[in-house]
Amino acid sequence: MKKDKLSYILGFLLISSAYLLLSYWIQLRGFYNLESYFFEYKTQVITRFDSEFLRTFYFTQPGFLFIISLPFTYLWKIQGIYILNAFLIGGLTNHLFFKSIKGNPIHKSFLVYLFFSPVIVYSATSGGSLAIYLIFYFLYFSLIMKYANSLSVFHLTLLSLLVGMHVLMNGPFVKLILIAIPIFFFSGFYKAKGISGNFFNRASAIFRNASQRRKFFSEFFASVLILTFIPCVGYLIFLIINKVFAGDYHFSERSLGDSWQSYSSLLHLTSETPYIWEVLSGSSIFYLISIILIGSVAVLQLFKYDNSVSTRIAIGIILLFVLSEVLTSKITNLNLTLLSMLTGTGLASLYFSESTKSSLKSSAKFIPFLIPFLAIFFEYNYFENSIVKAERLYFDVSHNAAKNRIAESLNQSIAVFNHNGGGHVLADDAIFYPELSQLSSEFTWNGHFSPQFISALQQPELYADYLIVTKEAHPLHLYDFVATALKRLESFNAKVDYQVLYEDELIQILSIKK
C-alpha cells in the first residue's frame, strides 16, 4: 500500500516536472501566451496598488483560476500559471496512467494517448486557462457517467460543487447543467425497484403505474434541485454581498480590463491565411473539421464495444452541445477552451463509464485499440490548421524555433523601460498588460482600474512620465484609449511635449518632457 502511494506521488512529481521543463523549452523557442501575462499583470495590480482583492477578483476572468494561480506566482520566477498547469495536468495524467496500468488492455493502449495527445500536452505547457477547463470537463463528465451508473447522491453533490466552481470560472457555464438534466431523466428509469427489461419496457411500466410515476418524477426533480442548488445559491450569495457593498454597480458590469482578450476576440485568431475566414464565414461548414478533429477521442468512444447506452447518449448530447455553442459564436468558441470538452468527455467515458458485454465480433475487436492512435493523429492535424494564434504558434515553435514580432516588441520595450529608470506610466492596460506586468517595482501606472485614468488621458503631462501607445499596424490600434486621447489632444492643438524612447512597427514608448 505504502509502495503504491509512493510510486503514485513520484509519478505525479515526475510527470509534472516533465511538463514544466517542456513549457520552459517551448518558451525558449519563441512561444508566448498573452493569457499568462494577463494573470501575472493582475497579480501585479493586487500587490503593487491599493486595489481591493475582491474588486480585482471580480474583474478577472476566469476568477477562480486567478485565485488558485496566485500562490504559484510567488513560488518561482516562471509565471505561476505555467507551474499550476504542469501540476494540474501532471495530476490528471498520472492518475489516468495508474488507472490504465491497472485496467484492461484497451486502457493500457491509451497510455500512448495520455502522453502524446497534443491537446493534453498543450494544456499542460501552454500557460493558459485550458488546463483548468480540461480538468473541469473531465471531472464533470466523469461524475455524470459515474452518477448514471451509481445513481448515488454522493456523485450528485460532487457534480453540484463542480458546477458551482464552473460558475465562478465562467458564469455562462451554468448551461452545462442542461447536459446533465436529460441524462438524469433517462438514467432514472434504471433506478426503479422491481422493474426490469429494456429501456422502453421500464419506461412504459413506470408511466403506467401512478405510484412509480410519482416516485420517478419526484426523484428526478429532487436530483435536479440538488445539482442546481450550489451554483444558484452561490450566485445568490455573490449578489447579496455585491448588493450590500456596491449597490447596483458590480454584478452587472464588465470592465475592459477583466479579460486577456476584452477588446477584440479577433486578436487571438491567426490572420495569416485566408483559411480563417473560410472557417468563420456564415455559410461555410469548414468549422466542423475542427470539431471532428478534436472530438475524435469522444466520437470514437461511440464505437467502443463495451460502452453502455447511457454513455453513448451522454456523448451524443455533449457533441450537440459543443456544436450549438460553436455555432453561437465561432470567433470566441472555436478553440480548445470549448473543444477540450470533447477531450474531457472522451477520457471520462473511457475510464469511468459502465461497461457492458462485448457485442463486437472477434475479428473487429482490434478497433478500440486504434482509437488512441487515430485521436493523436486527428489532434495533430487540428493544431496544424488551428485558427487560434496561440495554438498555431505552439505547433510552429515545436517544429522550428521562431521569432515573433509581438514577442520581440515586448522584450524590447521592457529593456527600454528598465534602462530609463522608474516613473509613472500611462497606457491602455487592456492592451499593454504584458509590458506592464514585466516592469520593475520602480514603475507605477494608471490603467482601467485606476480612478484617475480619464483625467490622465486629458492631461498626460500631469499624471505620467511615460506613455505606451499602439501604432496603426497594431491590430488593436483603434481600441487604444491612450493613442486616441493623444491624437485628440493634438487635433485640439494641445500638444503633449514628448520624446520617442522606442519605436517598432507596432508600438511606441514616449517619454514626457517636464
Binding site: 448515488s152 453533490t157 426523484e219 454581498i241 450590500v244 457593498f245
Partner: protein, 639 residues
C-alpha cells in the same frame, strides 16, 4: 393469610387463566431450559396476561397481599438474599418475616412447590406461612429492599472506577481557572485594544462556525459515498441459523410511558429472533406508578421481564440501564425506547456483523428515523435532521475512523465489553455519546449498521425544546468531561479523533450558541445598510443609519462584514444542502423543500442550547423528560 394451603397448577393456570395443556407443556419446557419459574415464563414470554393471572387468583379466592414498601426491612438472613437475588427474582418469592424458627414469605405462584422448595433450601428453613401477591409487587419489594448494592454501583460505578470520566463534577477547578483566566484576559485586552480584540473575536467565532459546519458537510459527503453499501448482504443473513444465535438482552428504560406500552409489546413481538433467546428487561422506576399500574393491568401477554429500579437521584436513563445490567444475561445487549420500532431482522443483522468484524468493535449503532415524519413541520425538520445524522454523518465518521457519539437507542453492545467499560455514566444526560468516546479512548471501536429503528418524532415545540436542551446540555457535559485532560485525550484518541471530537461534539453546541449572536449582528448591519430605519422610524431623510454604521464600522470593518456574510451564507447553505441530501437514502423526496427552513430550525436549536447552558450551571444532572405517545401517526407495521 394462608397457612401452606395446597394449590394446583391445573386449577390456577388451566382452569383459572385458561392456558391450554400444550401451552403448559411448552412453559414447563422453557422454564427448565431457561431456569426460570413457571409463572415468570407464563407472564413474560407471551403466554398469559397479568390481568388474566390476577383474575385466576381472584377466582380461587386468594387474597392479594398489598406491600407497604416504605416499611419493608431486610430479614436477618439478608446476605443470602443479596447473594442470591437472581434466584429470588426468578422464583418471585419475597421473605417478609424470618426468625430462627419461623419463615413467612410473599410469593406470586402458590402452586409452584419446586420454587418454594428451592428458596427453603437457600434460606435453610421451611416456609411456615405464605401470602400471595402479584408478581410486579414481589419484584418491586425484592428490588427496593435488596437491590441497593446494585443501585449504588449503577449510580457511582463510573465515579468509583474512574473519577475523571464521571460528570458528577461539571466544571473541575482547573477548568474554572482556565475559563475565568481567558475571560479576564479578554476583558483586559479589550480595555487596551478594543478594536483589535473585537475584530479578533469576530474572526474566531466565524472560523469556528465555518470549520464546524464544514466538517459536518464533509462528513455527510463522505458518508454519502457509502450510501448504497450494505454491511450484511442477504446471503450472509440467510446463513445465520437460529441454533447459533446467542442470548440477546434488550433493555427498555421507561418513565411515565403508560401511553406507549401496548405499542412496545407489539413492536417487540415483530422481532425476528427466537423468543427463548431474548432477555428483554423493562426498566421501571419504583416511583413511576403510571407505568407500573399500566403493566399490572395489561390485558394481553407481554414478552418482557419488568425490573423495578429503587428510587435514587439522579433519576436518569443511564442509571436505570446500569441497574438493568446486573440482571442481564445476553451475550449482546441493546437499548430501545418504549416507542421504538426496530427493523424486524435487526438483531440478526447485528449478530452477523459482530461475527464478521474484529473483536475490537464493541458497539454497533443502528440508524434511527421517524415513523411520523409527515405529521407537522417540526416532525418533517426533525426527520431531515435524523436522516442526515444517521444515514450520512455517522457512516462518514465510521469510515474516517473518528469517535462516534452513540445515539440514544439501538446501540448494540458486546455485553462483556460494556461491563468492562463500566456501563453508562449516571450523571451524564447524553450518556450514549459519552460512552462512545470512552470506548474509543480504550482503543475499542464503534461502527454503524444500515438497519433502522423507527421512533416517534417530537411533534410539540415545547417538548422538542426540552428534549433538545437535554441533548445539547449532555454534549456540553461530555465535552467538559473529556477536556479535563486534553493532552491525555489527544494521546488516547490521536489527532484525527481529537479534531473530530472538537468539531463534532464541541462544535455542535458551540455553533448553536454562536449562531444567534452572529445572525442578529449581521441583520443589524444589513438592515442599517438598507437605510430603511431612516424612513420607518424617523420618517425623513436623516442619516441615522449611516451614523450608526460609521460607529459600528470601527469594530466591524467592511472586509470583516464580507467575510461574515459569506461565512454565514455558506454555513447556512451547507446545512440546508446537507438536509436536502438527507432525503435520498429513504426516498422521502416530499421533504426536500422543507430543508430550506433549516435556518429556522437552527434558531430553535439555539434556544435549546441556551436553555441547556443555563441548566448545565444550575441543575446539571436534571433529566428533561421527553413525552412520548403524542403522535397520532402510526407506522404501518405497528398496527
Amino acid at each position: 393469610m394462608i397457612a401452606r394451603k395446597e394449590y394446583f397448577r391445573k386449577s390456577l393456570f388451566q382452569e383459572g387463566a385458561h392456558l391450554q395443556q400444550s401451552e403448559i407443556e411448552q412453559i414447563e419446557k422453557l422454564g427448565k431450559s431457561l431456569n426460570k419459574s413457571f409463572l415468570q415464563i407464563a407472564l413474560n414470554y407471551g403466554y398469559m396476561s397479568r390481568r388474566a393471572w390476577r383474575k385466576a387468583l381472584e377466582k380461587e379466592k386468594i387474597p392479594l397481599y398489598n406491600f407497604e414498601y416504605e416499611k419493608l426491612v431486610q430479614i436477618p438472613k439478608k446476605e443470602i438474599i443479596k447473594t442470591n437475588l437472581h434466584a429470588f427474582l426468578e422464583s418471585l418469592i419475597f421473605p417478609i418475616n424470618q426468625t430462627d424458627d419461623y419463615l413467612e414469605v410473599i410469593l406470586s405462584d402458590p402452586s409452584d412447590s419446586i420454587n418454594i422448595n428451592s428458596i427453603e433450601e437457600l434460606l435453610g428453613q421451611k416456609v411456615d406461612k405464605f401470602q400471595v401477591a402479584e408478581d410486579l409487587d414481589v419484584l418491586k419489594a425484592l428490588h427496593v429492599t435488596y437491590g441497593l448494592d446494585h443501585l449504588d454501583k449503577a449510580v457511582f460505578g463510573i465515579y468509583d472506577q474512574d473519577r475523571d470520566s464521571c460528570a458528577i463534577e461539571t466544571f473541575t477547578r482547573s477548568q474554572i481557572v482556565f475559563i475565568g483566566g481567558v475571560l479576564i484576559l479578554t476583558l483586559l485586552l479589550f480595555f487596551f485594544f478594543p478594536i483589535g480584540v473585537a475584530i479578533g473575536l469576530n474572526l474566531l467565532l466565524n472560523a469556528v462556525l465555518f470549520f464546524s459546519i464544514g466538517f459536518k458537510f464533509l462528513l455527510t459527503l463522505y458518508g454519502s459515498k457509502m450510501e448504497t453499501g450494505r454491511k450484511i448482504n442477504k446471503s450472509e443473513l440467510d446463513a445465520v441459523t437460529n441454533e447459533e444465535l446467542p442470548f440477546y438482552t434488550i433493555l427498555l428504560p421507561v418513565f411515565k410511558e403508560s401511553e406507549v406500552i401496548h405499542k412496545l409489546v407489539w413492536n417487540l413481538k415483530n422481532l425476528d429472533y427466537p423468543l427463548e433467546k431474548l432477555d428483554i428487561k423493562l426498566l421501571i422506576e419504583s416511583d413511576d406508578t403510571m407505568t407500573y399500574n399500566a403493566i399490572k393491568d395489561m390485558n394481553f401477554p407481554c414478552i418482557f421481564e419488568p425490573v423495578i429500579i429503587p428510587y435514587a437521584q439522579p433519576q436518569t436513563k443511564p442509571k436505570a440501564c446500569n441497574y438493568g445490567l446486573y440482571f442481564s444475561k445476553g451475550k449482546y445487549l441493546t437499548i430501545y425506547d418504549a416507542e421504538d420500532i426496530p427493523d424486524n431482522n435487526q438483531l440478526k443483522l447485528v449478530y452477523a456483523l459482530f461475527k464478521k468484524i474484529p473483536e475490537e468493535y464493541v458497539v454497533i449503532q443502528c440508524a434511527l428515523n421517524y415513523f411520523n415524519k409527515k405529521e407537522n413541520l417540526l416532525t418533517r425538520l426533525f426527520t431531515l435532521e435524523y436522516s442526515y445524522w444517521f444515514d450520512y454523518m455517522l457512516p462518514g465518521l465510521d469510515n474516517l475512523d473518528v469517535p462516534i457519539p452513540l445515539g440514544g437507542t439501538s446501540n448494540h453492545f458486546r455485553f462483556d465489553k460494556l461491563m468492562e467499560l463500566g456501563g453508562w455514566d449516571g450523571f451524564n444526560v447524553t450518556e450514549d455519546a459519552d460512552l462512545g468516546l470512552r470506548a474509543y479512548a480504550k482503543s475499542y471501536k464503534v461502527t454503524v449498521l444500515d438497519s433502522t429503528t423507527y421512533e416517534e418524532a417530537n411533534n410539540d415545540f415545547f417538548n422538542w425544546i426540552r428534549q433538545r436542551s437535554r441533548w445539547i446540555k449532555g454534549y456540553m457535559q461530555t465535552y467538559l468531561v473529556h477536556m479535563r485532560a486534553p493532552i491525555k485525550l489527544y494521546n488516547k484518541i490521536g489527532l484525527k479523533g481529537f479534531l473530530g471530537f472538537q468539531f463534532f461534539i464541541g462544535g455542535t453546541f458551540f455553533t448553536f450558541l454562536v449562531y444567534p449572536i452572529l445572525l442578529s449582528f449581521l441583520f443589524t448591519v444589513v438592515f442599517l445598510k438598507t437605510e430603511l430605519i431612516d424612513y420607518l422610524i424617523f420618517w425623513n431623510d436623516l442619516t441615522v443609519s449611516q451614523d450608526l454604521l460609521n460607529g459600528i464600522k470601527i469594530f466591524f470593518p467592511d472586509w470583516l462584514l464580507i467575510i461574515s456574510i459569506f461565512n454565514f451564507s455558506i454555513g447556512n447553505l451547507m446545512m440546508i444542502y446537507v438536509n436536502m441530501i438527507a432525503v435520498f437514502r429513504r426516498k422521502s423526496y416530499s421533504l426536500i423543500l422543507f430543508a430550506l427552513l433549516n435556518p429556522l430550525y437552527w434558531l430553535m436549536h439555539s434556544i435549546s442550547a441556551y436553555k441547556g447552558l443555563i441548566q448545565l450551571i444550575t441543575k446539571p444532572f436534571y433529566w428533561e423528560k421527553t413525552n412520548h405517545g403524542l403522535t397520532k401517526s402510526v407506522k404501518n407495521s405497528s398496527v
